[in-house]
């Protein structure tokens, strides 16, 4: 079955890609399988300077999910371009750079930096990381701010821009429409929900950062709902994510309106998950009566 998907800047051989922050820059997982199998790889967020992130503990386990407060640790955009992109470029897969920042200027800087990186196919604009205190969170929850940063990044970059939306919001449709109007080529949704765990033996928040982002199967119904709502109101494609761990989950996201999907937390349980999903997808589509990937996209929308 043809699993290929066309999206702005991305000619994916299949719709499966590891989600940002859950796959590093691919090196570790390349020991498990050939990364050329993947539709694309979304790299860990890059910022202007090297960032060390938050103190530990940075992760906690929750029911059917986890919290993380990594805090955008990364070696800085120059280092990513020099040392990480060339490694991934050896594989026959698309490369998406996740960019983050604390200020408009930083976003602009990082976006511009990737103009010089011929192997990067698209940007994923992370306006929604809940673990950056200086400003990240405002970008992600205020449609005007989100539109602003989208415009700035679009102007700075020669690559298609997928804006990654935060689910910590009442009205996801307004946010999606705001960034679409601002020029976004696509959407990526959802990022994590802000959560907390209190560690009973100490009686205090377990994460050193107090709060963290909730990911994993627990959040899948929220992701599906948001994609379903947004798909009906925007005309740009959506990369869906949030709790995917089976080929049935992938189909559920496609039906809800995603054109491709990213897999995050599930890599930690099963390092082979992306490869296994790619293998299982054709028979799963067949099982539910679909003969092509295209047939599924947005077909769950009940009109």
């Amino acid at each position: 079955m043809d699993l290929s998907v066309e999206m702005p800047g991305l000619h994916l051989k299949n719709p499966i890609m590891p989600a940002s922050g859950c796959f590093g820059f691919g090196r570790e997982y390349s020991q498990f399988y050939d990364l050329s199998l993947l539709g694309a790889v979304i790299m860990k967020a890059a910022t202007r300077e090297e960032r060390y992130g938050n103190p530990t503990p940075r992760v906690a386990e929750t029911h059917a999910g986890m919290l993380n407060a990594i805090g955008l640790q990364n070696p800085g955009v120059e280092n990513v371009i020099t040392n990480e992109v060339p490694f991934l470029a050896k594989y026959n897969t698309s490369i998406i750079a996740n960019i983050a920042g604390s200020t408009l200027e930083e976003y602009e800087f990082v976006a511009r930096a990737f103009n010089d990186s011929p192997n990067v196919d698209a940007l994923e604009l992370n306006i929604s990381c809940p673990n950056v205190k200086e400003g990240g969170i405002q970008f992600g929850t205020d449609p005007a701010m989100a539109a602003r940063v989208t415009e700035v990044v679009k102007r700075a970059s020669n690559l298609p821009v997928y804006v990654k939306l935060s689910p910590n919001i009442s009205d996801i449709v307004s946010m999606a429409k705001a960034v679409e109007s601002a020029g976004a080529d696509g959407l990526s949704m959802i990022n994590t929900l802000t959560g907390m765990q209190i560690h009973l033996p100490t009686g205090k928040p377990l994460l050193a950062n107090s709060t963290g982002g909730l990911s994993g199967q627990a959040i899948k119904p929220i992701a599906i709902r948001m994609i379903y709502e947004v798909k009906q109101k925007v005309n740009i494609p959506i990369i869906g994510m949030g709790g995917i761990s089976t080929a049935e989950d992938v189909l559920e996201f496609l039906l809800a309106g995603a054109s491709a999907v990213a897999v995050g937390t599930a890599n930690f349980q099963n390092p082979f998950i992306c490869a296994e999903l790619i293998e299982a997808l054709p028979s799963t589509l067949n099982k539910y009566g679909f003969n092509s990937l295209q047939d599924t996209i947005g077909k769950g929308i009940a009109i």
């Binding site: 590093g24 570790e28 992130g53 940075r58």
Partner: protein, 250 residues
Amino acid sequence: MIKKERVRIQTKRKIAKDTIEMVLENKYISSIAIPGQFIHIYVDGHTLRRPISIANVDQDANTLTILFKQLGSGTEQLACSPEGTILDVLGPSGNGFQMDTGNSTILLIGGGIGVPPLYYLGKSLIEKGMKIISILGFQSSEYVFYEREFQELGENLIVTNDGSYGEKGFVTDVVHTIDHIDCYYSCGPIQMLQAVTQSLPTTRGYISLEERMGCGVGACFACVVPSKKESGYRKICKDGPVFNAEEVKL
């Protein structure tokens, strides 16, 4: 290289309060694991795998031994898995202990559930002809395990917090009673490692660290420790769990 392996629980035994010894059968991991490495165990229904040190290896029998404490829901569920269960495990993971060379005298300092990796290490060092002295600290007598095993490696001191067995106090209270050592290896709670590195500032030392993990393979940056030499962090799952005591800030 880390692989995803099916590992069979061969035997299971309670060796102290809340403390389980499991002998696991797996050819790949037992044939290449070195002291200080760990395995990352999938526990059904849990999002994150549990890292557990390799406490011993029997290459002839294709087995490895793990010792773990039942703390939360994951280790409790693991402790309930019957013999014969097949576990889904990543391993061997991390870098092991860098082993001293020459005819050194080695001090092993273990605290609680930090004791396990030191046993496989001690056995391996003995084979290299070194002299082993070990100090093991536990909360109280009911938590003491592997005393006999460590005695077979050499001089062994047991310390309990409440004095209910061996010396009363912390491992560092008895460290000064040891005459001469060339090198120490330590694993245990962070407070213990801080005290140990401070009380042996001029001795060559290696410490094994614990931190909550996401991926366990070096991709997610969950398990970092600030580095002393370069700026930035080291990853415990990939660069560690064993570090030179000089290398990291505790």
